[in-house]
C-alpha cells in the first residue's frame, strides 16, 4: 500500500476516536430484554425536559455530578448503648469543614484562601498529588457572613470548587463558576468556613466508572455496554439501582439495604452470577469500598427521584411545570427517599437477626459439654459458672425439653443405671458419662446429627400446604415447580390485564427469573446459615420469593427449613415415609431405596419409626398434612 494512503487511513482512524467519551445518563437506544429501560418513557417532550432539568439540578450530569445536601440528612442519635452520640448520614458525600482566611487573587477568576482543614484530609496518604487528585473539582460551600457566601453573578448563584490545595501551606485555590469579574477577590468574613462537599462521591464515581459502569451502566440502570453485548441470552441481568430494590439484604422485604449489605455484595460477589468478588478494592483503594457504596446509594436515589417525578408529572399536568417539579423533588427527597427509604434505622442492629432458637441452645450446650470435660472435673468450677444452656440441660430444669428431642449422645449421658431419664443428675455423674460418650465425636458431628433431625422437619415444612415452597422450587428443590410453567400476570405499568410473554416467574424488573435450584449448592446471597435464614424469613426483595416468617413464626421452624435447604446438595432432597433418606438429583439413584444411608455416621435412620414422626410434626399442628403418622 502506498505510504500516503496508509497515513491517511491511520489519521482518519485516530480522528474518529479522538476526544474523550461522553458519559450520559440517557438510556441506550436499543431496548433490551423487555425491561423498563427509560423511566421517562411516555411523557410529553416538554414534560420530559422539565423532569430531566430538575434531576440535573439535583444530581448533576453524568460528567459533573451535584451533591444535594437534602439527601445527606445527618441524624445525631444518642444511644445509651454507645459511648457518646452518633452521626448517621443517609448519604456521606464526604464533608470536610474548616475556617478560611486571607484571600488573594489567583488566575483567571480564581482566588486563593488559607484554609484550616485537618491535616489528614482524606483517608489516602499525605501525598499532595494524591490529595489533589481526590479533591480537585470538588464543590465548596461557603458558609458565613461574607456577602460572597450567597453571591450571584447575572442572577446565577456563584459556585465554588477546589482547583488546587497545598497541604503544607494550607493554601487553597478556589475556582468560581461563573467566573468573577476581572480583579475581584472575594474577602472572607471573620469566621467563614469553607465546606468541601463531595470528595467521597468523586472517589466512588471514579471507581464505579472504572469497575462497575460497563455492566451496571452510567446511571446504574443495569444497561451498560457489557450487559447489552454479553447478556442478551444470559441471565441474570446486572442490577438496576433505580428502584432502590436490592435482592440480597439483611432487612425486611422491600426495604432499602444497609451499607453492610451492599458492601458484602461487592466484596464477596454473587456466586452463580456475573458479579465477581471485588475484595481487592479494599486493599487497592483506601476506603474504596465505602466510597463505591455511597455512590451506588446516590445513583439509586437519583433513579428513584427520576421515577417519582415522572409519576407525579404524568398523573397531573399541573405537576409538570418546572416550579411544581422543584417543589415535588424536595418533597419526594425528604419523605420517600430519605424518611421512608434510605434513612437508617435508629438502632445499631439494623439488620434482621435471628434469635436463639431452642435447637440452637441444645446444640450449643452439647457442644460446650463435649469440649469442656476438663472444666467439669475441676471442683472449683461451680454450677453458677456453667453457661446457662448447659445448666438447663444438666438440671433439665426446662420443662419443655422432652427426651425425644434430645440427641442420642445426651441421652446416653443422662441415662445411667437404666433409670428414668427425667431424674436430675449430679455433675460428677454427668462428667462420667460425658467421658464415655465422647468417643471422638466432634461438636461438628453433633451439629450434623441435630441438623438431620431438624432437616427432616424442614422437609415437612417444605412440602406442606402452609409453606408452598415446592410450588416454585419443586418437590426436589430443583427449581422446577409448577409455577415455572404457568403464565403470570404482567406487572408492567399499563399492562393491567395482560400476562407476561413467557411462562414462569418474573422479577420486579420484568425479567424472567427462575427459582433457585437448591440441589446445586450455589446460593447467590451467601451460603451461611444466617444468609439462608434471611432469605426464608424475609424473602428476597424484588422477586416472588416471599417472607415466610408470618407462617413459620418461630425461629425453630425457620431453622428447620434452613437446615433442610442446606442439606439438600449433600444429603438429597427427600425422606420417604419411614424416615429413610433417598437421594434425588445428581447425587442420586432415581428410585427411593429402603437401604439405610451409609454416608454420614451422624444420621440415624429409622430405628425409631413412629415415635419420631409424631414429634416431628410442624407446629401449629394441623392433622391434614401429616402423612407420616402411623395408625
Amino acid at each position: 500500500m502506498r505510504l500516503s494512503t496508509l497515513a491517511f487511513l491511520m489519521l482518519s482512524v485516530v480522528a474518529a476516536g479522538c476526544g474523550s467519551p461522553q458519559l450520559t445518563y440517557a438510556p441506550p437506544e436499543r431496548d433490551i430484554g423487555n425491561a423498563t429501560v427509560d423511566q421517562l418513557a411516555g411523557l410529553d417532550p416538554t414534560v420530559r425536559e422539565n423532569v430531566t432539568n430538575e434531576i440535573e439540578a439535583a444530581f448533576g450530569t453524568a460528567s459533573n455530578p451535584v451533591a444535594w445536601d437534602r439527601l445527606a440528612v445527618v441524624a445525631v442519635e444518642s444511644n445509651p448503648d454507645l459511648v457518646g452520640s452518633r452521626e448517621i448520614r443517609v448519604l456521606d458525600f464526604g464533608v470536610i469543614q474548616g475556617t478560611a482566611a486571607e484571600t488573594t487573587q489567583g488566575w483567571q477568576g480564581s482566588f486563593r484562601a488559607k484554609i484550616a482543614w485537618p491535616d489528614h484530609l482524606t483517608s489516602r496518604s499525605d501525598n499532595a498529588m494524591e490529595i489533589n487528585d481526590t479533591i480537585r473539582g470538588v464543590g465548596l460551600q461557603w458558609i458565613g457572613t461574607s456577602k460572597w457566601a450567597g453571591a450571584k453573578v447575572d442572577d446565577t448563584p456563584v459556585r465554588f470548587w477546589v482547583e488546587h490545595y497545598d497541604p503544607r501551606t494550607h493554601q487553597l485555590t478556589v475556582g468560581t463558576s461563573p467566573q468573577l469579574p476581572q480583579g475581584t477577590t472575594p474577602n472572607v468574613g471573620f469566621s467563614d468556613t469553607f465546606r468541601l462537599v463531595g470528595h467521597v462521591l468523586k472517589q466512588g464515581r471514579h471507581i464505579f466508572l472504572r469497575q462497575c459502569m460497563h455492566c451496571h451502566g452510567v446511571a446504574g440502570d443495569g444497561n451498560g455496554p457489557t450487559a447489552r453485548n454479553t447478556f442478551l441470552k444470559m441471565k441474570p441481568w446486572p442490577r438496576d439501582y433505580r428502584q432502590g430494590l436490592f435482592k440480597f439484604t439483611s432487612v425486611k422485604f422491600g426495604s432499602r439495604p444497609t451499607r453492610d449489605d451492599l458492601k458484602r455484595t461487592i466484596r464477596e460477589g454473587l456466586p452463580g452470577t456475573y458479579m465477581p468478588s471485588f475484595a481487592m478494592l479494599e486493599h487497592d483503594e483506601d476506603g474504596g469500598l465505602d466510597a463505591v457504596v455511597e455512590y451506588v446509594r446516590w445513583l439509586s436515589m437519583r433513579g428513584q427521584l427520576e421515577s417519582l417525578l415522572a409519576d407525579s408529572a404524568d398523573s397531573d399536568a399541573s405537576n409538570a411545570t418546572p416550579e411544581a417539579l422543584a417543589k415535588t423533588a424536595v418533597e419526594e427527597a425528604d419523605v420517600v427517599i430519605v424518611s421512608v427509604g434510605w434513612k437508617p434505622a435508629s438502632t445499631p442492629q439494623a439488620a434482621i437477626r435471628p434469635t436463639r432458637g431452642r435447637w440452637a441452645s441444645i446444640d450449643a450446650a452439647t457442644a460446650w459439654l463435649l469440649a469442656n470435660t476438663n472444666k467439669l472435673s475441676d471442683q472449683s468450677f461451680t454450677d453458677d459458672k456453667l453457661p446457662k444452656d448447659v445448666l438447663r440441660l444438666v438440671t433439665l430444669s426446662d420443662e419443655s425439653l422432652t427426651t425425644d428431642e434430645l440427641p442420642d449422645e445426651i441421652k446416653l449421658i443422662l441415662q445411667f443405671k437404666k433409670k428414668d431419664f427425667l431424674t436430675k443428675v449430679s455433675r460428677t455423674e454427668l462428667l462420667e458419662h460425658v467421658k464415655l460418650a465422647n468417643d471422638k465425636k466432634s461438636p461438628e458431628h453433633l451439629r450434623d446429627f441435630l441438623k438431620s433431625v431438624s432437616a427432616r422437619r424442614g422437609r415437612d415444612w417444605f412440602l406442606s400446604k402452609d409453606t408452598p415452597c415446592k410450588d416454585c422450587h419443586g418437590d426436589t428443590g430443583r427449581g422446577d415447580g409448577p409455577q415455572t410453567r404457568a403464565l403470570q400476570e404482567s406487572k408492567r405499568p399499563g399492562e393491567a390485564g395482560k400476562k407476561y410473554e413467557l411462562p414462569g416467574l418474573y422479577d420486579a424488573w420484568h425479567r424472567p427469573l427462575r427459582p433457585r435450584n437448591l440441589q446445586s449448592g450455589v446460593y447467590r446471597g451467601g451460603r451461611r446459615p444466617l444468609d439462608i435464614y434471611r432469605r426464608v424469613s424475609q424473602g428476597i426483595t424484588g422477586t416472588p420469593m416471599q417472607s415466610f416468617k408470618t407462617v413459620l413464626i418461630t425461629d425453630e421452624n425457620i431453622w428447620d427449613v434452613v437446615n433442610y435447604v442446606l442439606s439438600i446438595p449433600t444429603h438429597g432432597a427427600s425422606f420417604d415415609e419411614h424416615g429413610h433418606q433417598y437421594h434425588t438429583g445428581r447425587n442420586s439413584h432415581a428410585t427411593p431405596s429402603h437401604a439405610h444411608s451409609h454416608e454420614h455416621p451422624a444420621d440415624k435412620p429409622a430405628d425409631k419409626p413412629a415415635a419420631d414422626s409424631k414429634t416431628t410434626k410442624p407446629k401449629p399442628t394441623k392433622s391434614t398434612k401429616d402423612k407420616k403418622t402411623q395408625p
Binding site: A58, N64, G139, S307, D311, E489, S547, K622
Partner: protein, 276 residues
C-alpha cells in the same frame, strides 16, 4: 536518501501516537453542591387556614356502550393448581371490569389528588379486612389511610402470599397461612399518587388494587358505579378518577360548596379501557 534516514513509517507512527495521546485529555470532573437554602421554601399544603365549611361530592361513573362480558378467570373445577380449594365450588370471576345495573362501573377510584386545607383528621383508624377466599381477593379495590392497618387474612385451605407494589411506600411480600382469621397487619407510611397493585405469586391470577391516602376523601365506586364523599372542605379541588384497565381516566376540577352537594357524573366508553 539521507545518511541516517528516518523511515517514513516511523513518522506516521509518531504522528499517530501524538494524536492518540491528545484524545486522552478530559476536563476534570466538577462536583457541584446544591444547598437546601438555595431553594425557595415550600409551603406545606393543608396549612392552618380556616375553612368555611364542608360539603359533599357524590356521583356515578358509568360505562357507555355495550357492556362486555368477561370470561371467568378460572371456570368451575378447572383450576390447574390447588383445585381442592380454587374454583372448587364456584368459578373465579374476573373482577377487573365489573359493570352494575344501568352501566355503572364499579371498582373505580375517585379521590382528591392533594390533601386539602382543613382536612379533618380521622378520630380512629380501624383496621380494614383484606381477605382471600376461593383463591380470589375479596376486596378487589380499596382505599386506606396512611397508618391504617390492613389485616390480610386467608379463608382458604391453602397458603397465599400477598405481594404489594406501591410506588412511594416500600413493598411487602409475605405468606399467609391457610385459615388465618387473625390476619397479618400491613400499613403504609406515605400517601400514594395512584392506586397500586396487590398480587399473589402462588396463584398468579389473583389481583387487587389499593390506594393509600393521607386524607379520607377517596372512595371506590360500588353498587352500580356510585360513590359519595362527605365532609370535604369547601373550595376548589382536583379529583382523580382511576380504573385499573385505564389508569387515570380523567382529572376533574370540582368546587365544593359549604353544606352543598356537588355531583360528578362521568361516562367513559370502551376506547378509554384496555379491555382483555
Amino acid at each position: 536518501m539521507m545518511r541516517f534516514p528516518i523511515p517514513p513509517p516511523a513518522a506516521t507512527l509518531a504522528l499517530f501516537l501524538t494524536l492518540v495521546g491528545c484524545g486522552e485529555q478530559a476536563p476534570p470532573v466538577k462536583i457541584g453542591v446544591r444547598v437546601s437554602s438555595d431553594l425557595a421554601e415550600n409551603s406545606a399544603d393543608g396549612g392552618t387556614g380556616k375553612v368555611a365549611g364542608y360539603g359533599t361530592l357524590t356521583g356515578t361513573i358509568t360505562f357507555s356502550g355495550e357492556a362486555p362480558t368477561l370470561a371467568a378467570i378460572i371456570a368451575l373445577g378447572m383450576a390447574k393448581r390447588d383445585s381442592t380449594v380454587c374454583a372448587k365450588d364456584e368459578a373465579i370471576q374476573d373482577d377487573s371490569f365489573v359493570i352494575g345495573d344501568g352501566g355503572g362501573l364499579d371498582n373505580v377510584f375517585v379521590y382528591l389528588a392533594k390533601k386539602p386545607r382543613g382536612t379533618k383528621s380521622p378520630e380512629s383508624l380501624e383496621p380494614i379486612d383484606f381477605d382471600q377466599k376461593n383463591c380470589r381477593f375479596t376486596n378487589h379495590a380499596s382505599i386506606v389511610h396512611v397508618g391504617q392497618d390492613v389485616m390480610v387474612k386467608n379463608s382458604d385451605g391453602v397458603s397465599h402470599n400477598t405481594h404489594t407494589y406501591p410506588k412511594r411506600n416500600n413493598g411487602d411480600n409475605f405468606a399467609v397461612s391457610p385459615n388465618n382469621s387473625t390476619g397479618v397487619a400491613v400499613s403504609f407510611v406515605v400517601a400514594e399518587n395512584r392506586p397500586f397493585r396487590i398480587g399473589c405469586d402462588i396463584h398468579g391470577w389473583m389481583q387487587a388494587w389499593q390506594l393509600a391516602l393521607d386524607h379520607p376523601y377517596g372512595r371506590v365506586t360500588t353498587d352500580g358505579g356510585k360513590f359519595t364523599i362527605e365532609s370535604i372542605p369547601a373550595g376548589q379541588h382536583r379529583v382523580v378518577i382511576w380504573h385499573e384497565l385505564a389508569e387515570i381516566l380523567e382529572t376533574v376540577d370540582v368546587t365544593i360548596e359549604v353544606d352543598g352537594t356537588t355531583s360528578l357524573n362521568k361516562a367513559f366508553d370502551a376506547s378509554k379501557f384496555k379491555l382483555p
